[in-house]
């Protein structure tokens, strides 16, 4: 996972020719530590500190009111302490699946301002998109069946780094 993130950081620098107006926004929960790690790499390779934020997309989910049963998801806080106006925002998530989380994240981000552009970083792309969304930077493509579940574990949250395909 460390090598993958290093490679993505290099790709970000290569594609954007510099980091001056970049900002990283991680989607809660596991996109946040991933965004922080990428920020550390970008600092290491370019010497520039890229602002990093955290986005909770719960209030923008399209399935909130459609579940037949079950409690409302617990809302965590969103922390974006910089202006997103005219920045290139790198949206970071652990697993890209149906694309619905990213759709919600895009809606949420747009309520914060008007970024110059938004690019998507996904550590794992497991396919089965339900919306016209693709990642600009992918750590690894993992073919899965729809019924399987892909768990990314990170040392900041889970104590260790690993990716597990279950089911």
């Amino acid at each position: 996972m460390a090598r993958t993130l290093t490679r993505i950081a290099h790709e970000i620098l290569e594609r954007n020719r510099g980091v001056e107006d970049l900002a990283l926004v991680g989607i809660r929960a596991r996109g946040v530590p991933l965004a922080e790690r990428l920020a550390a790499h970008l600092h290491e390779f370019s010497g520039v500190t890229v602002p990093t934020g955290a986005l909770d997309i719960t209030l923008y989910r399209d399935d909130l009111m459609h579940h037949a049963v079950g409690p409302q998801p617990v809302i965590r806080s969103t922390e974006i302490s910089f202006s997103t106006d005219d920045r290139l925002i790198l949206l970071v998530d652990d697993v890209l699946f149906t694309g619905r989380t990213i759709r919600a994240a895009l809606d949420a981000l747009i309520d914060f301002g008007r970024p110059r552009a938004i690019q998507l970083v996904a550590l794992i792309d497991r396919g089965h998109r339900e919306l016209p969304i693709r990642a600009d930077y992918v750590g690894r493509n993992i073919p899965t069946s729809r019924q399987q579940s892909v768990q990314v574990r990170l040392r900041e949250i889970d104590g260790k780094d690993e990716v597990e395909v279950e089911g």
Binding site: Y60, L64, T78
Partner: protein, 316 residues
């Protein structure tokens, strides 16, 4: 962090029905909702397509506006009804009003009523979720929740917090809901008011009752002043408002007995020069305007959490 993810009931009728983990969940959700109010676009699509009726049978400015703002920030469709000029003024009963509104399929009804227990009645006859926005002298749960949220914001805890509540104890639903919430969360609550305005049995709720304001606020971390409710008293309980201020009004010199970092709260609307001196209301201790701002976040949290409960109801 709360250990549960849902409320047990689909209504919010009073603090009496909430356990500590439910109170924690509401306060924690309100923290996230407060951040929404700090954004350039203060609106999220969460309750899009939901209909909420605000049914206010009693005068209210801040509670009604606070609920309306909370509903709008969550993108719900809202409509309001006040008694003046409505069918209630023409003699319709509460049950008939409720059934009529129910026929319009609202998802939630926020209600304020002068009679204690009116929201409980509505909850029995309506399919919508009922939120009590103040019923008679009974409860005002969202006020107690926003007060608790404000205390946690300034003091980082409720357990062990020394809270003095001073004023008209007999007529206050704010007192009742606050006492239920604060004692449940482990705060040390003292209540103080004129002997004619101390309801019987208050000490049985785990509150130390006193008729001396100096005794009540001694060492207090929080001083909460209650409004003298002239409209509920008809001049029977107090000799004069001037005497009330002399004996129970909160002044800067009285406040010296409290903890050095004491905060002063008031549910509003304030009677300056009756229960609170302007110097205190506008002073560095005052968190009265924070309470107003926090009210919107806490009500958003309640609406959000109850919207989830409602789905369970429709399934069954």
């Amino acid at each position: 962090m709360s250990t549960i993810t849902a409320l047990r009931s689909r209504h919010l009728l009073g603090i009496a029905e909430l356990d500590p983990s439910e109170i924690d969940l509401i306060l924690q959700t309100a923290t996230a909702m407060k951040e929404v109010g700090a954004r350039p676009i203060k609106k999220v699509p969460t309750l899009r397509g939901r209909t909420i009726i605000n049914l206010f049978f009693e005068a209210s400015t801040r509670t009604r506006m606070s609920f309306e703002l909370a509903e709008k920030r969550l993108s719900a469709d809202t409509l309001g009804m006040t008694t003046a000029g409505s069918s209630v003024a023409k003699g319709e009963t509460l049950s008939d009003t409720a059934r009529t509104l129910e026929a319009m399929s609202p998802d939630m009804i926020v209600m304020r009523h002068a009679s204690s227990g009116a929201p409980q009645h509505l909850a029995r006859i309506c399919r919508a979720s009922i939120i009590n926005a103040g019923d008679g002298m009974h409860e005002h749960p969202t006020q107690a929740l926003l007060d608790a949220f404000t205390m946690v914001e300034h003091k980082n805890r409720l357990a062990g917090l020394r809270v003095a509540i001073v004023g008209d104890l007999a007529h206050s639903r704010v007192l009742r809901s606050n006492v239920l919430l604060l004692t449940r969360m482990g705060a040390d609550v003292r209540a103080c008011g004129p002997a004619t305005l101390v309801p019987p049995g208050l000490d049985r709720l785990g509150v130390r009752v006193s008729t001396s304001i100096d005794e009540a606020i001694d060492g207090a971390d929080v001083v909460m002043m209650l409004r003298v409710q002239h409209e509920r008293m008809h001049g029977l309980f107090l000799p004069s408002l001037r005497e009330y201020f002399a004996l129970f009004g909160l002044t800067a010199s009285r406040l010296e007995r409290a903890a050095p970092d004491v905060i002063v709260m008031h549910p509003g609307p304030m009677n300056r020069g009756v229960e609170i001196d302007s110097e205190v209301a506008d002073g560095p201790w005052s968190v009265i305007l924070d309470q107003v701002a926090n009210g919107v976040a806490v009500r958003m949290a309640v609406l959000y959490l109850l919207a989830g409960e409602e789905r369970d109801h429709f399934k069954s």
